[in-house]
C-alpha cells in the first residue's frame, strides 16, 4: 500500500490542475458568450486568404 504515498498526491494534483484550469477559463471570460463561441469556431477569418477553404453560398 506504500504506493498510495505517491498516487494520492498525484491524483489530487491532477484534480487541482483541472480546477485551476476551470477557474482560469472562467476568469478569462470564456463562458461569457457560449452562443457566439459556437459560431466563431466555424469562421475562417483567422486564416490568411489563400488558405481559406472554398466559400459556400451565403457565407460572408
Amino acid at each position: 500500500m506504500d504506493v498510495l504515498i505517491y498516487l494520492i498526491p498525484i491524483a489530487l494534483f491532477l484534480g487541482g490542475l483541472g480546477l485551476v484550469g476551470f477557474l482560469w477559463s472562467l476568469k478569462s471570460g470564456q463562458y461569457d458568450d457560449l452562443e457566439g463561441a459556437k459560431w466563431r469556431v466555424l469562421s475562417d477569418d483567422d486564416l490568411p486568404p489563400d488558405q481559406r477553404p472554398e466559400k459556400s453560398a451565403g457565407a460572408e
Binding site: 500500500m1 498510495l4 494520492i8 491524483a11 489530487l12 484534480g15 487541482g16 483541472g18 480546477l19 476551470f22 477557474l23 472562467l26 463562458y31 461569457d32 458568450d33 457560449l34 452562443e35 457566439g36 459560431w39 466563431r40 466555424l42 469562421s43 477569418d45 451565403g58 457565407a59 460572408e60
Partner: protein, 766 residues
C-alpha cells in the same frame, strides 16, 4: 445612400426580412431629418476611458439574428479607422468597442452600425450589470470547488466503503479519512459561503429560510466527521456534506443564471428605447446623457416625435402631447409655456425646452410614487412557497433529530453514538431535494416563458400567477396597441391613401406616422413643408396639397363631426387638394390583434375580466363592447384603480393586473400579480411581476397556463421530498444509515426532483 447599404444587409442574413428594411429606411430618414433640423448626437457621457488611453463603449444592438450578423458587425467596425477592438456577444446581443479617441468617436461607431443596418444604443456605464455578474461568477466558482472536492472525497470514500467489507487496514482507513478532512474543510468553508451568509441573515432577522437547515446540516456533518476521524471510527460523512453543497449549488446557479439572463435582456430593451435626455448645457451645446445623470434644474431639449424622458415644466415652445402612456387619455393635449410634462409622454408637434423638476407636491408623479410605495409595502407580506415549506420542515426535522438523540441516550448506548444517529437523521433528511424542489421548477418554467416572450421579474411570481381568478386590463396601450392605426382604410381610395402617406412621411406627428405606416408609402414628397401642430403642405404634379387637421384643410365643422360620429374614439386627418373633395382619415388606437380571442379564452377558463381605464367613457365603452367585457370603469385616476383592486381583494379574489401607463404603476404593485407590455413606462415595468414582448396579448393566458403547470410541479416536488423523508427518517432514527446509503439516497432524491421539473418542458405544448 442609406438604402443601398440596407439592401446589402438583406443579402447576407436570410432572416432580415423586407419589413425590417423598411423600418431601417425610415430610421435613416429620421436620422437625416435629425441631422438637418436639430444637431448630431453626442454620446460622450457613455464612453469610459481605459488606462491605456483607449475609449471604450458598450452598446445594446438590435436586429442580430445569426452568426453572419456578428461577422458583419465586427468586420465592418474593424474597417473603421481608429477602432482597435470590436467584439459582439451573441448571447446578450451586446457589443464592446475600443478605439483611439483621436482617430474616431462614439458617434461614428453608432453611425457605422446604423449604416450596416443595426440599431444600437449605449449603456449607462453607471448602472451596468456588475453585481449580478459577480454573484453568478462566485456561485460558479463555488460550484467548481465543490465539484472538485466532491469527486476527490468520493474517490477516497468509495475505497473505504469497499475496504470496509473486504480487507482495509484501520491505518489506511484513518489515512483516507484524514485526507478527506483535509479536502473537505476548505471546500465546505468556501463553497458553503452562499448558504451560510443567507442563513445568518435570516436568523438575524428572526426568520427561517431553507438555508438555515442546510447550513446546520452541513456544519454538523463536518464537525461530527472530524470527531469520528480523530476517534478512528469506520464511518465519516465528509462526502455527504460536500455532495449536498454541490447539488444545491447547481440549483442556485441555474436560478441565478435565469435571473441574470432576464435582467440583461430587460437592460438591452431599456437601452434600445433610448432612455436618455438631450441636455442643453449652459454654453448652449447639447449632448445625450443617461437619465441617471439628469438633475433637477437642468434644461432638456425634446424634438418633435420624441418621447419626453424627464418630468418638468416647459420653458420654451408649444406642442401637442400624447399622454396615453401616462394617463390613459388617447386625445392629444395642447401644451405651452409653463405647462407640466411627464416622462413617458410623446411630443407630437413642436420642439420643446423642458426645465427638469423633482416630483413636486401634488403632481401626478408625486401621487403615483406615494401610492406605489404604500402598495409595495403591503405586497411584501406574501410568503413564498419555499419559505413556507422551510418554516414547516426545519422545526420538524430538528425535533426528530433531537428526539432520536434523547431516545437513544435513554436506551443507554452512550452520548456519542446517540449524537451520530441524530446527525445522520439531519443528513439523510436531505434538504437537498427540498432545496431543489422549487428553484428547479422556476428555472424550467421561466425558461419556457422566456421563449414565449414573457420575462419574469421575480421567481415567486409564478406561484402567484397560478392562483389568479380575476384579470383586470388597462385599456390604452394594453388592450390597444401603443401606436395609432388607420381605422377607415376601406372607405378611402387607394391613390388618396398613397398620396396622404407620402405627405405624412414629412411629419413626425404620431397621427401622420400612423397614416404613413398604413399606406406603406416609402417615397416622401419633395419640398413638403410642415406647419408645426397643424399639418403638411406641398405641391404634387402642380396641384397644391395639404394634409393635416380639419381646420388646417378648411373642412366644415359639421362634416368633421359627422365623420367623428362614425368613429367616436378616433382623431381625424384630412387630405385636401385644390379642385377635389377633401378626404377624411380616421386614426385611432387599434385593439391588439388577438385581444378579442384572448379575452374570450380567459372568460372560457372561468376567469372574471374587467377593464379599468383613465380614458373617457365613450372610448372605454366601445372597447369593452368589442371585447364582450361587461365590467368596466372609465376616467379612473391611480387612486381609483387601487380602490377597485382593493374592493376585488375584499371579495376574496386574486387579481392579475395588466397595464402599461404611469397611472397603472401603483395598481400593478397593489395587485396580487401583474404584467406589463414592453412598451410600458419604466416605472410600470419595474412595478410589474412580468413584462411581455410583442404585439400579442397571448402572453397573458400563456403565463397563466405555464404558471399553473409550474405550481402543480412544485407541489409534486414537495410531496416527493416529503415522501422520501417519511421513508428515510425511520431508517436513520433506527441507526441503519451508513454514509453509502446517505450518498445514494441524496443523489436519488435530487435526481427525481430535477427530472420531475424537467417534465414541464416536455409536457403537452400549449
Amino acid at each position: 445612400m442609406p438604402r443601398v447599404r440596407v439592401a446589402e444587409g438583406r443579402r447576407t442574413c436570410p432572416l432580415r426580412n423586407r419589413e425590417n428594411t423598411i423600418t431601417i429606411a425610415q430610421a435613416d430618414r429620421f436620422r437625416d431629418h435629425d441631422a438637418m433640423n436639430v444637431h448630431s448626437r453626442d454620446w460622450s457621457a457613455f464612453v469610459t476611458k481605459a488606462p491605456s488611453g483607449a475609449s471604450h463603449i458598450e452598446l445594446a444592438v438590435e436586429g442580430i439574428h445569426c452568426a453572419a450578423c456578428m461577422a458583419r458587425i465586427e468586420k465592418g467596425l474593424g474597417r473603421l479607422p481608429g477602432v482597435e477592438n470590436a467584439r459582439l456577444n451573441l448571447t446578450t446581443h451586446r457589443l464592446a468597442v475600443d478605439w483611439q479617441p483621436d482617430a474616431t468617436n462614439a458617434g461614428a461607431v453608432v453611425d457605422k452600425l446604423e449604416s450596416l443596418g443595426f440599431k444600437a444604443h449605449p449603456f449607462d456605464p453607471g448602472e451596468m450589470r456588475g453585481r449580478d455578474d459577480a454573484a453568478s461568477r462566485h456561485l460558479l466558482r463555488a460550484l467548481a470547488v465543490a465539484g472538485f472536492g466532491g469527486m476527490n472525497i468520493m474517490l477516497l470514500s468509495v475505497s473505504v466503503w469497499s475496504g470496509n467489507v473486504t480487507d482495509i487496514t484501520p491505518e489506511t482507513r484513518d489515512f483516507f479519512h484524514w485526507l478527506s478532512a483535509l479536502i473537505a474543510l476548505p471546500v465546505v468553508a468556501y463553497a458553503g459561503r452562499p448558504f451560510f451568509v443567507s442563513a445568518w441573515a435570516a436568523l438575524k432577522a428572526r426568520s427561517l429560510n431553507m438555508d438555515v437547515p442546510i447550513s446546520i446540516g452541513v456544519t454538523l456533518a463536518v464537525a461530527m466527521s472530524m470527531l469520528q476521524t480523530i476517534q478512528h471510527a469506520e464511518d465519516v460523512y465528509f462526502d455527504s456534506a460536500v455532495m449536498l453543497l454541490f447539488f444545491l449549488l447547481i440549483g442556485r446557479y441555474l436560478d441565478q443564471n435565469m435571473r441574470r439572463r432576464t435582467r440583461s435582456f430587460a437592460e438591452n430593451l431599456a437601452a434600445l428605447r433610448a432612455e436618455t435626455a438631450r441636455l442643453i448645457r449652459p454654453d448652449g451645446s447639447t449632448g445625450d446623457v443617461p437619465l441617471s445623470q439628469v438633475e433637477p434644474g437642468m434644461l432638456v431639449l425634446v424634438a418633435a416625435g420624441e418621447r419626453v424622458s424627464v418630468d418638468g415644466v416647459i420653458e420654451e415652445g408649444t406642442s401637442e402631447i400624447d399622454q396615453s402612456l401616462v394617463t390613459g387619455e388617447t386625445r392629444l393635449a395642447d401644451v405651452g409655456l409653463g405647462d407640466r410634462v411627464h416622462a413617458g409622454t410623446l411630443n407630437a408637434a413642436g420642439v420643446l425646452k423642458v426645465r427638469v423638476t423633482a416630483a413636486a407636491k401634488g403632481t401626478l408623479l408625486d401621487e403615483v410614487t406615494r401610492l406605489l410605495e404604500t402598495a409595495s409595502q403591503a405586497k411584501s407580506r406574501y410568503i413564498r412557497l419555499a419559505d413556507r415549506a422551510a418554516a414547516l420542515y426545519a422545526p420538524l426535522v430538528h425535533t426528530a433529530a433531537a428526539l432520536a438523540f434523547i431516545g437513544w441516550l435513554i436506551a443507554g448506548i452512550g452520548w456519542q453514538p446517540s449524537l451520530v444517529i441524530a446527525i445522520s437523521v439531519l443528513i439523510i433528511t436531505c434538504p437537498c431535494a427540498l432545496g431543489l424542489a422549487i428553484p428547479a421548477v422556476q428555472v424550467v418554467a421561466s425558461g419556457i416563458l422566456f421563449n414565449k416572450g414573457v420575462l419574469l421579474n421575480s421567481g415567486d411570481a409564478l406561484e402567484r400567477f397560478a392562483t389568479v381568478d380575476t384579470v383586470v386590463f388597462d385599456k390604452t396601450g394594453t388592450l390597444t396597441l401603443p401606436d395609432a392605426a388607420l381605422a377607415n382604410a376601406d372607405e378611402v381610395r387607394a391613390e388618396d391613401l398613397e398620396l396622404a402617406g407620402r405627405l405624412a412621411l414629412a411629419s413626425r406627428h404620431p397621427l401622420a406616422a400612423a397614416l404613413a405606416r398604413a399606406s406603406g408609402a416609402r417615397d416622401p414628397v419633395t419640398g413638403a413643408r410642415e406647419a408645426a401642430g397643424s399639418g403638411v403642405k406641398a405641391t404634387v404634379d402642380g396641384v397644391e396639397c395639404r394634409l393635416g387637421s380639419p381646420k388646417f384643410c378648411d373642412v366644415a365643422e359639421d362634416a368633421a363631426a359627422a365623420a367623428l360620429a362614425l368613429h367616436p374614439d378616433a382623431s381625424l386627418i384630412v387630405l385636401a387638394r385644390a379642385g377635389a373633395a377633401p378626404v377624411l382619415f380616421a386614426v385611432r388606437q387599434a385593439l391588439r390583434p388577438d385581444a378579442v380571442s384572448v379575452v374570450a379564452d380567459l372568460k372560457r377558463r372561468g376567469l372574471h375580466v374587467e377593464i379599468l381605464s383613465g380614458d373617457h367613457q365613450a372610448a372605454v365603452a366601445m372597447v369593452a363592447d368589442e371585447l364582450g367585457v361587461a365590467d368596466y370603469a372609465a376616467r379612473l385616476d391611480p387612486r381609483g384603480k387601487i380602490a377597485r383592486l382593493e374592493a376585488l381583494k375584499a371579495e376574496g379574489r386574486k387579481v392579475l393586473m395588466v397595464g402599461d401607463g404611469l397611472n397603472d404603476a401603483p395598481a400593478l404593485a397593489a395587485a396580487h400579480v401583474s404584467m406589463s407590455p414592453v412598451s410600458a413606462v419604466h416605472l410600470s415595468q419595474a412595478a410589474a411581476d412580468a413584462v411581455f414582448l410583442g404585439e400579442s396579448l397571448a402572453a397573458v393566458p400563456a403565463a397563466l397556463r405555464t404558471a399553473h403547470r409550474a405550481h402543480v410541479a412544485m407541489r409534486q416536488n414537495l410531496v416527493l421530498a416529503a415522501a422520501y423523508n417519511c421513508i428515510a427518517v425511520p431508517f436513520a432514527i433506527a441507526g441503519f444509515v451508513t454514509p453509502l446509503l446517505a450518498a445514494l439516497a441524496m443523489s436519488a432524491s435530487s435526481i427525481i426532483v430535477t427530472a420531475n421539473s424537467l417534465r414541464l418542458r416536455f409536457g403537452k405544448a400549449d
